[in-house]
Subunit: 296 residues, 3 copies
């Protein structure tokens, strides 16, 4: 009797206290004006209605794998280990490019076409394993006729099954035996007395200019809040702007409309106008062709 | 003693293992710049905080019941049976038009004004029952003073109570005794050696042109991948464009900027420029007035 | 034996039937093109993966605390007591402005910078307690180096812990001993035979003009549906438009393109064109500088 009781008790607690499934986070260049994202969420809900589905963004500029890479790197570290990210920015849809499932050293998962989208997150969180998702076994049953929406029929479906515990990571497909595709970009470096770096993205909502130069590079080389920096912004080899700006902790340290340098939420050197739009006023854009030199 | 044990055990398992409520999916033409959608979600959460609420889109062009109909048809089949869809695109708000609750043969539910929004989903999934939602009994208590936001006070509230199991479908209101409103549109047909159809929507994010001509109509009449099609695009009676395009499996089969025909994720004939915007370049729009003729 | 059974039973039920956490509702001026909102959701999910996270809007115009205030007032009353709202519209980010946690008399919670965002919701739902959130104890561990994203590192984190029951409201920080910041605005008043009020926002999706004049002010002073109103719309001291419009229950009471007055979903006097955009056609905007006079 007593044994029976404990067995039932154990079963019950097990049934009730089942582990919370990890969240799924979606990123695409689909926009949200049509039903494509909602179809992906329907497939995920069909796999397991308990799964929590969140949006990173669906406004990646069409086919812009660089920005997709950047948004993952900006966001994923703030999610708990186990979270499954799906990124569908896929200029090569329908070609022979592989579909990847990356597990980072931090225990985050990323499912994406093999087109460079995982470049930055792999550097940032470290690669534990990269697998090539096996379409033959991981594709949504009955979806074989559609050639153009793998985001729904393979990526969302595989992510949902992974998050729901219906497939193990090791079963998604074979370990990738060649390096995954990566995007080449200028990393931040010190050259003598100046620092060179890239302008990976703009903070589009406010028009702030973000660089990839970390705060530590400046702070460990003698720069302090309150110092005045000389910044030179370039598009390819053309100098677009040279300006002297104070390094501030807060925007309010300069008058409205005036420029400042600050460390953004990723702790990288950034440029802004207090209450204004630095990028628009100064005609600055972002991407591999844009660079910055910072000095005294 | 043993009996007591089993009774308690059964009660406990019942309490813990309670059936997951179906998801609620919202579609409106409200946009998300103001608080209207969030007010609807608040009402749903107030009915039952466990309910999963998802967005189909809130960017249906204002009053465009045809696009609302199309987005439901594009999306709903990918959601599990039991899902409750709420569509509030309601040019007749405040008039005597009915509010409908449709149960399809597949077990999906749709709540919408009676204005044609349910035309395509009814054709696609089949009508099991259509009820006229009874405002007198199903409206949110205390909301009687507001004449202009039934989306919140009737539709979201009734959908939440249905999804939460607080009201049975049969209790939402009487079975509709007259046909619901439908939108007339040109269905895809074969005429001798050509195929005629409608351009229901554009794939707005990429500028691809979607038709309602299914892949099977071409494939069952001798067309093959690699064939060249002649497409004639018309606005009312004016021919806007005549073009010869290859029928491709993937965009990459043609050079960048070149046109192709393909089957979209709904397996309908569609037109695109590889890495470009077909609709913008060729001045093609969508809707009941736009049609296409496809031949050799 | 019997006692043991009941103890186990009680433990089990307790474990299974745990109280549903309140929802978290996010409002920002970040937009959703980048990863800022998703980073906030990641932090919340990391605190407790069970929490339900909803969006009010992320399209508040940059730095527009007035519109932030209005959207909270428009939406929050439709959410159940206990809901935790986070609003991050923060022109003073990084300055010495306080961070507030407001509990209303209705039991709703609001976390926001002390910049006027809580003006309207405090008037509407009543202040129970306002606390100054203590950065030293409530900030996300390890986030001390970032000076510019308190939305993620303090507001989202504190809201998640409050909603998850990991911190009590009383422990968020000390009761505010001075009045919180408020925004001054013209409240609706009767002056002799006319009613004066403000145009707080436009119904942007449709171009309708909303005022802060409640239906009761007109209805309790002899106005009835069907009456014709004279409306005078002013920008500062300049009269922009004078027009006579019928007071309607539904848009369909006037021909397409014609103006009408109606009571919106907040039961305030509003102006619209049936099937048209009143604000665009008549060049009407909103904000503290825009006012309206309504008479016979």
């Amino acid at each position: 009797m007593k044994h029976l009781l404990f067995i039932l008790y154990a079963i019950t607690l097990f049934a009730c206290g089942k582990k919370q499934n990890p969240a799924i986070v979606l990123q695409t260049d689909f926009g949200q004006k049509d039903g494509a994202v909602a179809a992906m969420k329907g497939i995920i809900t069909g796999v397991n209605a308990q799964l929590r589905i969140h949006d990173l963004t669906h406004d990646i500029p069409a086919y812009n794998t660089w920005e997709a890479a950047y948004r993952l790197a900006q966001t994923a570290p703030y999610w708990p280990a186990g979270t499954v990210f799906v990124s569908v920015v896929d200029p090569g849809v329908g070609t022979q490019r592989k579909s990847l499932a990356l597990k980072t050293k931090t225990g985050h998962y990323f499912i994406s076409p093999d087109n460079g989208t995982l470049t930055l997150i792999a550097e940032q969180l470290g690669i534990a394993v990269v697998r090539s998702v096996d379409e033959a076994t991981q594709r949504r049953p009955g979806s074989g006729g559609s050639y153009t929406f793998l985001g729904r029929d393979l990526y969302a479906y595989a992510a949902a099954r992974l998050a729901a515990g219906k497939v193990e990571f090791v079963s998604l497909g074979p370990v990738l035996t060649i390096p995954m595709q990566t995007i080449t970009y200028q990393k931040a470096v010190r050259e003598h007395t100046v620092f060179k770096g890239n302008i990976p993205v703009l903070d589009v909502q406010y028009g702030n200019v973000w660089t990839d130069i970390p705060d530590t590079l400046l702070l460990n080389n003698g720069f302090r809040y309150g110092d005045t920096l000389t910044v030179q912004l370039k598009h390819k080899d053309s100098v677009v702007l040279v300006q002297r700006v104070p390094l501030c902790k807060t925007f309010g340290e300069v008058p409205e409309g005036k420029p400042l340098a600050y460390f953004n939420s990723l702790m990288n050197v950034s440029l802004a106008l207090n209450m204004g739009n630095y990028a628009a006023v100064n005609h600055i854009k972002s991407g591999p062709d844009w660079s910055i030199v910072v000095g005294r």
